[in-house]
């Protein structure tokens, strides 16, 4: 039954991609599968962004994850919560505001360097969230042993905590890499040709679906590589959590320059992501255009509903896949659970096209298609943290439970779920925030008279009306923040 579930979920996840391939073949065969005129540059830019953003995000996310989980410095509690702000900020909004501000101050905000900055800010929170969750719960005893042997915070981090958190960090970096491959709005605004922009361009401007599929395959290959590397990392650093004592570890007190540096490092990303729109607002009171309260309430309500629906559904599916991976040792099914997370690799615009191809003829309701699309895209987001969480539970726990006569649903309910609460909440939060700011799917698949906040932000921003985009954009930020406060009590505790 678990196996059947895996086949079904994977099938639904892969169907859009298959539909796309079939369509491309029907449109004109694949004999001219080439990267085309600008393909080389698009691949190079994409790889540069994935590597650059991955590296910067890994350093920033891990550092902030550790500092806010296990060290004590003034303002730590708030700074810990603030780490989620960048994640809630749509990258296209950051790019649009940066470009607009720049052009008013005679700076050209343009090109690869700026794309690196914007995308690092927009995605490092994946690493932060997954690593900090791991730092907060793992290896308490080992860390205590470290301390009693006189190791300082740095030594304890390097020798014990970091190796234990590697799977989570790897999962975060893989997610950020997929997000980068998928990015469309920001790179388009910043004038950086990537695979994502190339796919769309060849499909829609040049009427060349085969060319688009060729580029999509390259994108898929890059993402598969990311996922494979992450899996390797995880296997190499396999360490289980033994006897975590319930009481929390006393954090290291940082003083003087160490405390200041920690404050700077943890405050900088949220300040930048929140600061840009706020500085823009402060400079442009005369440009702010409001909507009526009723309109805003409607937009927010629809956004919230979609986000909660997508988060719930996606986490249920992700849990199914993660558990199946642990329990079923059949190679084919193992492969399927791996492939099911690939929906994230397909640029949202392309996934939207694929879902239209599927949904149009069958008369599927647009909302149903939309939620299918969200789950397909964000399955990897939900799954990454869960897989890392399950890694930490030693197999002997399962063996003990089954030895006592528990079936897998019972083991799941009584053993795994309580232990997976953190990763489930974090995963759900990530999917929620991602859905709230998601654009291409919502834009292309929503029904009549069903605008959301992100749709409005994008419409105004793409019309070069940043002033009108800001209020809905700030509401998106607020939703993300409220969600993280409500969903992650572990982030609030001192």
């Amino acid at each position: 039954m678990l196996g059947a579930g895996v086949v079904l979920v994977s099938g639904l996840a892969l169907l859009p991609v298959l539909a796309l391939l079939v369509f491309a073949v029907q449109e004109g065969g694949l004999e001219q599968l080439g990267l085309g005129y600008e393909g080389g540059e698009q691949v190079a830019n994409t790889v540069a962004l994935v590597l650059g953003v991955g590296l910067a995000g890994a350093v920033l996310g891990t550092a902030n994850g550790w500092l806010t989980a296990n060290c004590q410095f003034p303002g730590r509690r708030w700074l810990r919560i603030a780490q989620l702000l960048p994640l809630a900020t749509p990258t296209y909004l950051l790019a649009a505001t940066a470009i607009d501000l720049g052009s008013r101050l005679s700076w050209r905000v343009h090109g690869l360097g700026w794309a690196l900055v914007v995308l690092t800010l927009g995605t490092y929170s994946y690493v932060f969230l997954l690593s900090t969750e791991s730092f907060a719960v793992s290896g308490r005893r080992q860390l205590e042993a470290c301390r009693s042997l006189g190791a300082g915070p740095w030594g304890s981090f390097r020798r014990v905590a970091l190796p234990m958190a590697l799977p989570a960090i790897g999962a975060g970096v893989a997610l950020s890499g997929m997000e980068v491959v998928n990015e469309l709005g920001a790179v388009e605004l910043l004038g950086v040709p990537t695979l994502s922009t190339g796919i769309l361009r060849r499909w829609q401007d040049q009427g060349d679906p085969q060319g688009a599929v060729a580029l999509a395959l390259v994108a898929l290959a890059i993402v598969s590589l990311l996922v494979a590397v992450e899996g390797q990392l995880r296997r190499r650093s396999r360490r289980w959590l033994m006897g975590s004592s319930g009481d929390s570890l006393k954090p290291w007190r940082l003083k003087g320059w160490r405390a200041s540096l920690s404050q700077l490092l943890t405050a900088l990303p949220p300040l930048l992501t929140l600061g840009l729109p706020l500085v823009w607002t402060a400079m442009s009171w005369d440009q702010l255009r409001g909507e009526t309260a009723a309109e805003l309430a409607g937009l927010t309500g629809r956004t919230l509903g979609l986000g909660l629906m997508a988060a719930g559904l996606t986490m249920v599916l992700a849990l199914l896949l993660a558990i199946a991976r642990r329990w079923i040792h059949q190679p084919l099914l193992q492969q399927l659970t791996f492939v099911a997370g690939m929906g994230y690799a397909v640029p949202g615009t392309v996934l939207a096209l694929a879902l239209m191809l599927l949904g149009g003829p069958w008369l599927l309701s647009p909302l149903l298609l939309l939620v299918w699309g969200y789950s397909d895209r964000f399955l990897a987001v939900g799954k990454g943290g869960l897989d890392a969480g399950l890694e930490r539970i030693p197999p002997c726990v399962d063996e003990a439970a089954t030895g006592l006569g528990c079936s897998w649903p019972q083991v799941l309910r009584r053993v795994h779920l309580p232990l997976l609460r953190g990763p489930l909440l974090v995963g759900g939060l990530l999917v929620f925030v991602d859905t709230v700011k998601e654009l291409p799917l919502t834009f292309a698949l929503r029904p009549f008279d069903f605008d959301t906040l992100s749709v409005r932000v994008y419409q105004y921003a793409s019309d070069e009306r940043v002033g009108a985009a800001l209020i809905p954009a700030l509401l998106i930020l607020l939703l993300g923040l409220v969600a993280s406060l409500a969903l992650v009590p572990s982030l609030k505790e001192d």
């Binding site: 470009i99 004038g191 442009s284 440009q287 239209m356 002033g467």
Partner: protein, 319 residues
């Protein structure tokens, strides 16, 4: 209007998104009793969606920005011909499809803006003048992803032929030393500030800055710009047609007639500082730009040339 249509619904897929458009749809409902259901998205996404929905599509009217996209939808057979004396009268022949599948609703001009402190506006009278060697480093352009630029090139191909147009594009690209811009407003600011001397933009972006909608700072900057209409000027449209599988084609036709009529069309154009189908409207800001001479290239022809234009731009180094 036939009374039996009151109480029916018209589904509109629109590539335009201005809040004032919604006011117009409301006005239409008040006049006719026909409800308007609206979905606004990117033009290309709407075209794909309509195609995939086929006969089941809830859309009756498809509104698109730019002749190239209207042509794309026509080639995919997404429109049905509409017989309407009112539309024949209100929409000039070069701004509608010869078979009545789509009709222009507003006009926009892609003109030249100049910073008079850096470049003498009198030296630019045609698009061809942008290749003059003395503009090297002064010319700024938006990238070739912009459908407005694609249509400008298509328009030149129709008038000057492919070879001449290729030479013109290469000449312009040789004059551009800054990275291509991705939007018109920052480019207009760059010209006003003297970072560029001359650029090619849709006039409504400048009009929006001048009107104060973008704030005092932009208003002041736009005041430094001189808008030059090349002789003759390239005119593009936003337009609409009744969908192939419309369940309420009569209602869609009425809405189309309303939007193309001087009353509705005025509101549609003013929403975005565009020009109405004929004349210059009574937008005070647009009046300050003076008059232009449209080159008369038909929107239908321009649309069919789009893919050739994209290929030519790519081959000539217009990024």
């Amino acid at each position: 209007m036939p009374p039996e249509l009151a109480g029916t619904e018209v589904g509109v897929y629109s590539g335009r998104h201005y809040n004032t458009d919604k006011e117009l749809y409301k006005e239409f409902t008040e006049r006719t009793g026909i409800e308007v259901k609206l979905l606004e998205a990117k033009d290309d996404a709407l075209i794909e969606r309509l195609r995939s929905e086929g006969e089941n599509s809830p859309a009756d009217l498809l509104v698109l920005v730019d002749a190239a996209r209207l042509d794309k939808a026509t080639r995919m057979d997404l429109f049905q011909p509409t017989e309407s004396p009112a539309l024949q009268q209100d929409v000039p022949a070069e701004l509608r499809d010869s078979k009545g599948r789509w009709f222009g609703l507003t006009r926009r001009v892609r003109a030249v803006i100049v910073n008079p402190e850096l470049v003498d506006p009198a030296t630019i009278t045609t698009y061809a003048d942008l290749t003059k060697p003395e503009l090297k480093g002064q010319l700024c352009l938006r990238n070739s992803k912009s459908v407005y630029n694609q249509s400008l090139v298509a328009d030149q191909m129709i008038q000057q032929g492919d070879d001449a147009t290729k030479g013109w594009v290469q000449g312009m690209v040789a004059n551009v030393e800054q990275p291509f811009f991705t939007s018109d407003t920052p480019m207009s600011r760059a010209v006003a500030k003297g970072d560029c001397g001359v650029a090619v933009v849709n006039t409504y972006y400048v009009a929006r800055m001048l009107s104060g909608e973008n704030g005092a700072e932009d208003k002041e900057l736009a005041g430094k710009l001189k808008v030059v209409f090349p002789d003759p000027s390239h005119v593009n449209i936003s337009g609409a047609g009744v969908t192939r599988h419309a369940s309420n084609p009569e209602g869609a036709r009425l809405l189309l007639e309303f939007l193309a009529s001087p009353t509705g069309g005025k509101g549609y154009a003013e929403a975005n500082n565009e020009y109405p189908l004929s004349g210059y409207g009574d937008n005070e800001v647009l009046k300050t730009f003076g008059t232009f001479k449209a080159n008369g290239v038909s929107a239908e022809q321009m649309g069919t040339k789009n893919q050739d234009a994209v290929a030519l731009m790519q081959a000539s180094g217009w990024k």
